[in-house]
Symmetry: C3
Subunit: 337 residues, 3 copies
């Protein structure tokens, strides 16, 4: 695809070489995100960061990514106070707001809303999550993380062995990631969930049509024993009839250091879309894994900034100018790895 001026609405719009391009640009963003260098390439540009549904992490990640390229950010959070709640159409909102910025990132609780908005916008729109539908930058940062973790071992995404664990029925992130994996070759996917929370059938079929091997199980330990990536997700309590029903599933997908040591191959990478529920009763991904160098959950979050910087640079067509506007960071750069 030609990125210049394009909207980023769905992972379905990407072919494999588009992904390659995004990741190649994301790689070049590392020195900026790690504060070795800074760049003014988007000095004077404005991001409209329109979060009609709250999401601190995603909102700040997009805003910081734009700041790291030298641009300014105008922001909206919440729905009730906006004109949308007074009957304004997404068409009108888009026509107006696109006069205030150079690119818009939008999150909205309704599926399809961001695409509808994008049709009327005069500037590129990036989907920051539209309800149960899509959250394409999360899928991209997950795949970018998988690619980087494998790369550090001299491997590629082709040939990946991955377990997806937990609530695979409702988890938007594992759905999108599965679709992206269909662009690659020869992947083994272990789907570990209670039957009631199984991955939707159409996604399983897509994976098999792509030539991937899919195994389905309700049992955690045997299925995390031969994978490169263990991708854990949250049991989303709010989706169940009662807390009691949710609790039935909880302990069975718990991953902690002793389970990891006993069952996983030595360098199995652990991922999670965050936020992780760290309360004692959560039984999800224990904090005793925090010192395990294979816990990649915070590298995932850091990668989100790189991927979002890359998308901004591509849709605004400045990827080739980033370095020309760069300079050394003169301030304390933090304790980064």
């Amino acid at each position: 695809m030609n990125f210049t001026g394009s909207n980023i609405l769905s992972i379905k719009q990407f072919e494999r070489n588009d992904i390659d391009k995004i990741f190649a640009v994301a790689d070049t963003m590392k020195p900026y995100a790690q504060r070795k260098r800074a760049t003014r390439v988007l000095d004077g540009a404005i991001l409209g960061n329109m979060f009609f549904e709250a999401s601190t992490r995603t909102r700040v990640s997009f805003g910081s990514a734009f700041n790291l390229l030298g641009g300014a950010v105008r922001e909206t959070t919440g729905f009730e106070s906006s004109a949308l709640s007074k009957g304004e159409s997404l068409y009108d909102t888009a026509r107006v707001l696109s006069g205030y910025s150079d690119v818009i990132c939008m999150r909205h609780p309704e599926a399809g809303s961001v695409s509808e908005f994008a049709k009327a916008s005069r500037v590129p729109v990036i989907n920051g999550g539209d309800g149960a539908n899509e959250h394409p930058t999360q899928a991209l940062l997950d795949l970018y993380t998988i690619r980087n973790e494998l790369q550090s071992k001299g491997r590629e995404v082709d040939g990946l062995r991955i377990a997806m664990i937990g609530d695979l029925k409702h988890g938007r992130t594992v759905h999108s990631l599965s679709q992206l994996l269909c662009l690659y070759n020869n992947i083994h996917v272990s789907l570990v969930s209670p039957k009631e929370l199984a991955m939707p059938e159409y996604l399983i079929e897509s994976l098999r049509e792509a030539g991937h091997e899919v195994t389905i199980s309700e049992e955690l330990t045997t299925h995390i024993s031969h994978v490169d990536i263990a991708y854990s997700t949250r049991i989303q309590e709010e989706r169940f009839q009662s807390k009691e029903e949710a609790d039935l599933y909880r302990g069975r997908f718990r991953l902690n250091q002793s389970i990891y040591t006993q069952y996983c191959e030595p360098n199995t990478v652990i991922m999670h879309p965050l936020p992780r529920d760290s309360r004692a009763e959560a039984n999800e991904l224990d904090s005793d894994l925090d010192q395990n160098p294979n816990l990649a959950i915070f590298r995932q979050a850091d990668n989100g900034v790189l991927v979002r910087m890359a998308l901004f640079a591509l849709v605004l067509d400045v990827a080739h100018l980033v370095e020309k506007s760069a300079y050394d960071v003169p301030w304390f750069p933090g304790h980064r790895d």
Copy 2:
């Protein structure tokens, strides 16, 4: 008036040559708003964008206008959480906040509050709307739009024929616009509203004292047939005893493409202060007009940025420096007209 360091609180403070000056500066802002050029003239300056009442559109428009001049924006939205709600006086708030910025834009639900605040502020204050009282930048952008639409036909504001339609009793925007029109000559104003929602008598008298011709009617179609501008406003349901009462008035002021074709002169310009209620039952300004090139409602919104940029440049006395700090925009500039 001398703009440098002045507050912009009310349209009453302007004479005709002040308006001319604002509009002349607004004209010079077009290449920046349309992202052909960028400027760093206010690099290092800070706007305190204090919205003690929510208004996404106006807030972002002010913030973006300041960013477009190269400045930074600090922002507050909402009232409950602020010190004002703990009994702090506007005097104290102004003394404190004016130490944090170079210019303040303030919206507040109480009439007169912004003027009171401005008395204690050490930096210029721009009224972003103080309750039922004034919203001077909206009036300026409306008049700027009228002037531009006429100008593109080789005409001037003098001699304008305008219909104001809908709830003329409660509509702050049509009140302010009427007052501004008193600075011009030989205008025909058609006031179209139900008797119960008529324009206040004192404004009608002002228009007549200015030498303008005013006609008053409850009937839409005959009164939009010989005008340059049809300025439609929202039936503000919240002002009525009941939804049913509001509904009595609604259909009568509906403007859609077929009514436009049947009754209006070919190039009649349609304006509306936005947001427009686009729900099917609204019967206000139909979306089948969206492709009509004479629908100026989004040009109005865009003009808001130009007028606000002009006001910032004038009160901070940098209008003559904008171009000196300018550079070409290296990023994709959007699909703008």
Copy 3:
């Protein structure tokens, strides 16, 4: 202490020469805060301004201080919408958010939360107030104000005579200020409060152990008659069983111009942490003092910007670079003293 890369969590971490250093750097910030000069020293740097509890004044003060140094600000306000409320640990939040910024300012309703957050952060963290625990930048700006007010009279903090007035039991600011004063010599402290709202015993002992003279009284007028500084605090109605109980104490600590004239030495300086309750029934610090040149409450607020700029410059190690990146302000600089 070595400021570079350090967290600013508590006033307990400072020795007297650390305070001297902060104040010396704060002094150099005056031309920037007063808009005679601007600086780009932190151009490209990002402040994560994380206010998980609302505080317009403190939040905007930190944000503006960072903007005044040329940096960008990403912001969060409120708690409910954040991942913290879904069970995310402060450890996880810190690991993630510290990837989005160069320094974090955090306010949080729970005592100790900011320190816990700071342990996991990869960038310096400044405590913007953690519940009943600490608000170190408020204590520093209070002491900086005392030092400046005395300095203008050729005096030093050593030898200070200060009255602290009002609710000394709950007032976080007077507690912290008392602890900072223990770093100085030969101070007379008059504690004026109802017995029920007395300064905690351990703080009184600290003051005495530092060699200071402490007098305790329930009576205002005699105890403000021989002081350099009268530091008034709010009767915090929300701490009492009833409004009626709070009202018992209110009138007794009222300070207005006639009381000032009758009882205070001519140049006694009046301070207050703000916000001041200016409603007629508040009986706290009357607005008839507003023209009194010894009312320092707004100089306190202005000093907050200087102290915060100094802390940013010190923890990011750019204090020596500020002037190199400086330029004259070309815009109207406001009506500043």
